[in-house]
């Protein structure tokens, strides 16, 4: 019998899988799900006696390993000391271009979003960039972004050791094929179907005839996630952790896990 799993637990466990083999993962300031995924990966690597995972959460005091101001993250990435990072975007298109600046005609964008932050650099130099956006709608996943904050692929003569590895949304997981410059559907989260995902996505993507379901975390992973990871998470994201806890308590099957 499978325990009931919260949809965000699927996301967190998927992120942990995508981070396999990394040594140092950096996470933006308000990114509790990527942070939880990295914490889960760290716990799994520790349990299996693998290489220790270092997790830098920007703006956190607990998880701040930097002492050289806000430039250090970028320096560290330029030194190839950061293996994975997360980016989102107000718009993401089928070539993995991301737009963090605004919709419509620049510069008088409407809406205007905050801005590109470090994306125009980190997307180039961090080997494994995971695009993460829970909202999966044609408004976010567009055919062509209105403003390229950071391109998914660069011309061949451009120095680019990094780039997109995967796109994870609230509905599905995609991989990115750099040669073909496009996404391929890897799996559908529980309750999603191909037609629905196609309708929610403004760009075309490769896919099999019957895409598999995104793997749900097993009992061992769930126990780690609901125990140690939520404890760690509540230090940095107390509101998010509390909300997860209360939603988990409402799920069927959770008591079964505790038995």
């Amino acid at each position: 019998m499978t325990a009931a799993v919260h949809p965000r637990e699927i996301l967190i466990a998927t992120i942990a899988r995508l981070l396999e083999g990394t040594r140092h993962v950096a996470v933006g300031a308000s990114s509790p799900i990527p942070a939880a995924g990295a914490m889960l990966r760290r716990a799994l690597q520790e349990e299996s006696g693998g290489a220790p995972l270092r997790l830098s959460i920007l703006g956190s005091v607990e998880h701040n390993f930097f002492t050289n101001g806000s430039a250090e993250l970028f320096d560290c990435a330029g030194q190839r000391r950061i293996d994975a990072f997360f980016l989102g975007g107000g718009q993401v298109d089928g070539q993995a271009n991301i737009n963090l600046v605004g919709a419509g005609d620049y510069p008088r964008s409407a809406p205007r979003w905050p801005g590109s932050f470090g994306s125009a650099y980190l997307y180039f130099v961090v080997p494994r960039v995971i695009l993460f956006r829970e909202e999966h709608t044609p408004r976010v996943f567009v055919d062509k972004v209105d403003f390229v904050s950071a391109p998914g692929v660069s011309s061949p003569h451009i120095h680019r050791p990094g780039g997109p590895a995967a796109l994870l949304t609230g509905k599905a997981l995609f991989s990115f094929d750099k040669a073909r410059r496009g996404f391929a559907l890897e799996s559908l989260h529980p309750g999603q179907d191909l037609a629905g995902v196609k309708a929610a996505t403004g760009f075309a993507f490769a896919h099999g005839e019957a895409p598999p379901a995104t793997a749900a975390p097993g009992a061992r992973v769930l126990a780690l996630l609901r125990g140690r990871v939520l404890d760690e998470l509540s230090e940095t994201y107390p509101d998010f952790a509390a909300q997860m806890r209360s939603e988990l308590a409402a799920l069927d099957g959770v008591p079964a896990l505790a038995s």
């Binding site: 806000s70 430039a71 970028f74 590109s116 130099v125 660069s154």
Partner: protein, 268 residues
């Protein structure tokens, strides 16, 4: 104390380039009111490397001509209402950047060099809209290897808030070294602090390690809780409720005006 802050604000002249720190590094919110009362406008703000409440209020007060930044937002409290409105209306010029480009421009000024190369940025719309950035071929590469060159950013004045200063004007910035970078790059630096200490901060290696020497600091003024509603690392947390209250009020110019009237009255 308010008279000290007003004296600091008088250093600002119309059209100056002003460097302001990221919301978690030590924003001198205590200076926002005095700057608005002082009224020197046409400012070019340089956000190091992103902006928030202070930028939004200075834009809302009509003092800003240009914002050079990697992002402006109120963080958890959402978008920056006055900034976004001014962008939509074309009332300000935004020089969209990316965080390491701002750091690179300041570093060039720190080193006294005209520019710094940086990786990334190629084939972005950021680059397309920054005619002041250049692309050159890396002369050390065997083949073609374009690289972006970011010109030095030399602000007229850097303004920030820190936990403490000593009587000689040395300022303790801890590990927030972007504050030092701002000061190195700027012609003048003015600082508000939580407290002024009697001990020489350069007098022992432990405190000296986190100290910006007075050499770079033109004026220091006392402003307890001077980052509020932002927090100050190691001192107090951000007042997210107040940020949300501002975000809600500033959704309209009228609401912004009402909020600021109260704010400026308190600061008088």
């Amino acid at each position: 104390m308010q008279s000290d802050l007003r004296a600091l604000a008088r250093r600002i002249e119309p059209g100056m380039r002003i460097a302001l720190p990221v919301d978690y590094a030590g924003v001198s919110m205590a200076m926002t009111g005095p700057m608005i009362r002082h009224g020197a406008g046409d400012l070019h703000l340089v956000c190091v490397p992103t902006g928030g409440l202070q930028v939004d209020q200075l834009v809302g007060a009509g003092l800003v001509r240009r914002v050079e930044t990697s992002a402006v937002s109120l963080g958890e409290a959402g978008g920056a209402p006055c900034f976004n409105r001014a962008v939509g209306e074309g009332a300000i010029e935004v020089r969209d950047a990316t965080c390491p480009a701002i750091h690179a421009g300041l570093m060039a000024a720190q080193k006294g060099i005209p520019y710094m190369p940086m990786r990334g940025v190629l084939e972005t719309d950021l680059l397309a809209h920054r005619p002041d950035w250049r692309v050159a071929d890396n002369p050390f590469a065997e083949g073609e290897d374009p690289i972006v060159l970011i010109p030095a950013i030399r602000p007229d004045i850097a303004i920030f808030h820190a936990p403490m200063a000593d009587r000689a004007g040395n300022v303790w910035i801890g590990r927030r070294r972007e504050l030092a970078a701002m000061a190195y790059a700027s012609a003048a630096t003015i600082v508000t602090v939580e407290r002024i200490v009697d001990d020489n901060l350069l007098g022992n290696e432990m405190s000296a390690a986190g100290t910006l020497p007075a050499l770079y600091v033109e004026q220091v003024a006392l402003a307890p809780r001077g980052a509020w509603p932002y927090g100050l690392w190691g001192e107090y947390a951000t007042d997210v409720g107040e940020l949300r209250r501002y975000a809600a009020a500033a959704r309209t110019p009228q609401g912004f005006g009402d909020y600021m009237a109260g704010f400026l009255k308190e600061a008088a």
